[in-house]
Amino acid sequence: MNSRLHDDMSDLASEAKSPDLYDRVLATSRRQLIRRNSIAGLAAVVAISGGVIGVGAIAGPADPGPAPTAFEGDGEDLRGRLFDAFVSPNLNVYTLLSRTHGSEPTEVAKLTGVVTQSPRLSPDGSQLSWLSLDEDEPGAPHTLMIRDLASGEDTEITGGIPAAATGCVNPTWTLDGSRLFVDRGDDASDGRYGFIDIATEEFTPLPGFRGCDPRMAMVSDREVVYSIDETEVYVSGLGDDATATPIADALAAEGLRADYLTAVSNDGELACVDTDEIDAPDGRTGSWDCDLIVEIETGTVVDLADLGDWSANETVFNHPAGLILHLREKGDDGYTIDTLTLTGRDGSILAEADWFLPSDEFESLFVGYRS
């Protein structure tokens, strides 16, 4: 069978075309080098100027108008603390970094990827949770771990997370950072889904939960959990069964289906969903995880026309002025460019940070923002 599978795979692989990649590889390296130097230059300028002006303020009078600039002011900016993470090749190490505008990135945590899964930053950026695996026993329950990023102290939460339970419901922080929503598997005697208080390890079941991708919100002073089951987006709270939101029906009317719930705003007004129907820019069949911003109450798609043909890798809603999208776009030269864009709720672009990976080795992923 192995020989047959080898032959079949070889046959399928023979479909692949082999363009000359040499110039593209060099251009990618040069682009990344230029972008790294640009960020370093910006950091130097801001430091010399007292840390309050952005590149727009030092531009000459002949420069074109009010185009979005990195870290511009007026409160509608990206001057809080950004968190991003990357994995180094070969070592498979997860590194979490933080940075403020005009400063060098600071490493705040480093986890060994071989035995680590599903790292999640708490909403206030003070704690990191992850699942620790027993490499020798892949089917063994995973251990839920928490690191206090200020002290570096690790805490193990008693009670394992079944290996089979991860992937659909990964441990997810509540908005206040006091609990994690988890799936404890079918065999859990006191409930499969629910919240673990990280201080007391008390478990509060949420029996009405259904689906995957839990996202927390506070609606009318009540904590609720949004989730997605197939294409239906649900909301559930303590004591309630999950209730379908209008999102699936509204998207269906547009010929769209959501299949991943990427993020929900803290007030439960907006969600970002991924769809099969929308591809990444340039008609690529691969897609990032956030294709549409929708109003949860109505399912109406928010018009983000200012962004053009966009698809985001990650979304954070907790900026006071709107939402932050980690966009990956095709540049004029055909190569991809990562940008953080702060978008107002009217769809206007308030600020952009042409941020760059601090590593020569791997692209980093935007994972959080704190004002």
Binding site: R4, E15, Y22, V114, R284, S287, E363
Partner: protein, 175 residues
């Protein structure tokens, strides 16, 4: 003024031109998409380029590139999913039964691979396409031998249960 290419640059260029086709074939199996395969190989080669003096000195440029490629694809923290678009119906062209068999089997394998996780797919490509040992596969993926074995078993089990029937497919009548 034109700068003369350095020896290192010209050796890297030779490496890229010589090994890209094989790398893209593996990447195509990993991603199921030509454009994504090119992007994946391009990203891996860009990393190799930056580390060229070191990897060339150690004589492991291809191993380094492949390792970077597989890690990029299966990075555990990145929920990057690859989707493929399949036509609703197969074209109704008249084809030779032998050719149809090959094409149908290829399409079935493509769809079956799409059902696997990135890690399962990587393990299968390394083990059965590149004919790597369990130990080599574990080394490239940066995981334990036990993980490779369990992922291989899970992938093969899933492959059998999906549209791609390893043993019986050839017996089916396709036209």
């Amino acid at each position: 003024m034109t700068r003369e290419p350095s020896r290192a640059s010209s050796e890297f260029e030779s490496f890229v031109r010589a090994r890209s086709p094989a790398l893209i074939r593996s990447a195509y199996l990993l991603t199921g998409d030509q454009q994504l395969a090119e992007d994946l190989v391009q990203s891996a080669l860009a990393r190799t380029y930056r580390a060229w003096s070191r990897v060339e000195r150690l004589g492991n440029a291809e191993a380094y590139t492949r390792r970077a490629m597989y890690h990029l694809q299966v990075s555990f923290w990145r929920r990057r999913r690859v989707r493929e678009v399949y036509p609703e119906t197969l074209p109704e062209a008249r084809v030779d039964p032998g050719t149809a068999d090959v094409l149908a089997r290829r399409d079935a394998l493509r769809q079956a691979l799409a059902q696997l996780t990135n890690r399962q797919r990587a393990v299968l490509v390394l083990r059965f396409y590149e004919d790597r040992s369990v130990t080599e596969t574990a080394e490239i993926l940066g995981c334990g031998i036990g993980t490779v074995k369990s992922q291989t078993a899970a992938a093969l089990k899933r492959l059998r249960s999906e549209t791609f029937d390893l043993e019986q497919f050839a017996e089916r009548h396709l036209v």
